[in-house]
Amino acid sequence: MKRILAKCYIWLLLAVLYAPIVFIAVFSFTESKVLGNWTGFSTKLYSNLFTGTMQGTGSLMLAIKNTLVIALIAATVSTLLGTIAAIGIHNMRGKGKQAMTFLNNIPMLNPDIITGVSLFLLFVFLHISQGYLTVVLAHITFCTPYVVLNVLPKLTQMNPNIYEAALDLGATPFQALRKVLLPLLKPGMISGFIMAFTMSLDDFAVTFFTRGTIGLDTLSTYIYTDARKGGLTPELRPLITLMFVGILILLIVINIRQIRNSSNDEE
């Protein structure tokens, strides 16, 4: 009895968690303009999305392109910055190290809206005209701590003498970094990159506050604007479904990688 109850609980929990996305996915296969109205199975919305016959295709495609380009730049730059920062934090001692780790964690817990508003105010204060550049800068800002978070454990696990061993064998500090440190940090950097990439894709609040008034849209701001203008365009339902499936595949890949890595360690 107890086990049945426990099982029911977990299924109920999963149902609540996944109901909204399942709902959208199901209704992406019907033509109805209004969400929640089943008018028979159809893949028309999908074909509209890809053939570009929907209303406002151009701006949607631009928004998708912007989202991906911004995420790619932000993830790349923050992986670079975050790795260097992690190495620096790792080499600090005592209270300074604790303080830096703490400071690194705050932006991740800080509500996006606060990050967004404060960046907006900063850019205004510095007289930086807002647009593409400010959005990219803002994304780098909130992505970097996630990279640090992923790289730091790799450094802690590493034998503390490894870097010194490379110097000892005649490597200059730069060669030691390139030939020994970076290869060992690579797994952490890759998961940091993926995390930064998804964080950037996902962001709405920060983008909204830092994009300025030049009409720059990412997917999230596009959907938001679209939904406010008389309801969600039906073709966005298949888009959302496809994105969810994409993220799902990415997560499965990451998990398989992690399982494979940990079983390697055990050997």
Binding site: N159, N161, I162, E164, A165, A166, L167, D168, L169, G170, A171, T172, P173, Q175, A176, K179, V180, P183, L184, E267
Partner: protein, 462 residues
């Protein structure tokens, strides 16, 4: 001064981390081709000294010379030394061959020569056929061999080894010791070895540098260090020993455990307090008491494999450790003899506690930032700088640190046959030496009290 026989010279090296002084004015030299061991308990500064030589960290003061050339400011990767690190520090992303070839590739050695040299060192450490193995799939002993191969393939002038065998099991360690010694002979280069294992140091070294608390305690050959320790720390740290308070009556005559013994030491003066060391295997024990220098009663007898280890209470109230091939039953009356050459007499480092102090008023004196009551006196005025002397046995230790005038931690213990001689480190980092019959353990937190009548105020020398 440049001496051609010296490959390395340490000159007045000091190093602190924050408040803590790790190395305190270390100076010594290493002869070319020597196997020299830095030996001491953990935290004595031996690893720090080795790291300074490897180029990891700079001394606060002093300089390091290799072949007469000052290398203090030369970065690690340009020094003609290679290190075998504790826990090996192999590169896990490279296989055995690439690990060993790492240094040679950086030097742009031609590929076929790299190949030749890597194979040669692999043969030397008996790891032929392991080239393609993943280093993490190797056992501890094998990883250690690769780490040694990776260092010696670069043909350094000096090989530094930082507790390289510490992570291996006993049997493996013994085998590797023999191999290291053999390797040293074959290569003919200088080995600087760091360990806390005194047996390992005695087995391997040409010269041992015993260190404690950032200072060199003694430098000498293994036999010198074992047979003629220069202070009670060395005597206690190297091998088993009976360390006792004694008095040099005159040249070649020393008194301890209530008897006078002939010895070979001279030049201490007459009626001078000294420390006496007698190794447990150097006390002759026999069943009859006639012809013995002194007598005792066996308290316990334990079989230790090669010999028996016995604790004997002498009739004068001292406990001695004795090792002998024959067993003597507990409660047996035994006769004891110590030969003159087996008695090692050492100058006492100190005969009482001496602290720098300042007079507060006629019956208060301040030292260690604390005001103590003392016997009323009118010789010194308030504010005057003086010295305070307190006898070892007059310092009282209590269980509860908060109930003492000072609080501290038991830092070092020495059994002296009938009492313990403790070094207590106060929370402020000062040392106080205490003689006590109570049993304390290293690391015990204690309160420290000194009765007013036991504080003796003397004039400052200067």
């Amino acid at each position: 001064m440049k001496n051609k026989d010296y490959i390395i010279e340490f000159r007045n090296i000091s190093k602190s981390f924050g408040e803590k002084c790790i190395l305190d004015d270390i100076s010594f030299y290493v002869k070319k081709g020597e196997f020299i061991t830095l030996l001491g308990p953990s935290g004595c500064g031996k690893t720090t000294l080795l790291r300074l030589l490897g180029g990891f960290g700079n001394p606060d003061k002093g300089e390091i010379l290799i072949n007469g050339e000052n290398i203090t400011d030369i970065p690690a990767h340009q020094r003609p030394v290679n290190t075998v690190f504790q826990r090996y520090a192999l590169f896990p992303h490279l296989d055995v061959y690439e690990n060993i070839a790492f240094g040679l590739k950086l030097q742009k050695v031609p590929t076929d020569e790299i190949d030749k040299r890597v194979r040669k060192v692999l043969k030397m450490v008996s790891m032929t056929d392991y080239e393609d193995r993943d280093v993490e799939s190797l056992s501890g002993g094998q990883q250690q061999r690769v780490a040694i191969a990776r260092a010696i393939v670069n043909q350094p002038k000096v090989l530094l080894l930082d507790e390289p065998l510490a992570a291996l099991d006993l049997k493996m360690r013994k085998d590797m010791q023999i191999e290291l010694k053999e390797m040293h002979r074959k290569l003919g280069i200088t080995f600087i070895y760091v360990t806390h294992d005194q047996e390992e140091a005695l087995t391997l070294s040409d010269t041992i540098v015993v260190m404690n608390e950032g200072k060199i305690q003694q430098i000498g050959t293994p036999t010198d260090i074992y047979n003629e320790p220069q202070n009670s720390f060395v005597a206690d740290f190297i091998g088993e020993s009976n360390i006792l308070n004694g008095k040099m009556v005159r040249d070649k005559l020393v008194e301890f455990v209530g008897h006078e013994f002939e010895c070979v030491d001279e030049g201490f003066g007459e009626n001078v307090d000294v420390d006496v060391v007698v190794r447990p295997e150097d006390i002759y024990i026999m069943n009859r008491t006639e012809g013995a220098q002194f007598t005792g009663k066996v308290k316990s007898c334990t079989f230790k494999g090669v010999h028996y280890e016995m604790f004997v209470d002498t009739e004068s109230g001292y406990e001695l450790m004795i090792q002998d091939y024959n067993a003597f039953e507990p409660e047996a009356e035994v006769g004891l003899i110590i030969r003159p050459a087996d008695i090692q007499v050492m100058k006492k480092e100190r005969t009482c506690n001496t602290f720098e102090a300042e007079i507060v008023d006629e019956n208060h004196v301040k030292f260690f930032d604390e005001t103590f009551e003392c016997k009323p006196q009118d010789k010194f005025a308030a504010g005057e700088k003086v010295k305070v002397e307190v006898k070892f046995q007059k310092v009282e230790l209590i269980d509860h640190p908060e109930e003492g005038m000072l609080s501290g931690e038991v830092h070092f213990l020495l059994y002296k046959g009938d009492h313990y001689h403790l070094t207590v480190k106060t929370d402020e980092g000062y040392h106080i030496w205490v003689d006590t019959n109570d049993i304390w353990d290293k690391g015990d937190l204690v309160g420290i009290n000194i009765a007013p009548k036991d504080i003796k105020i003397v004039k400052c020398d200067d």
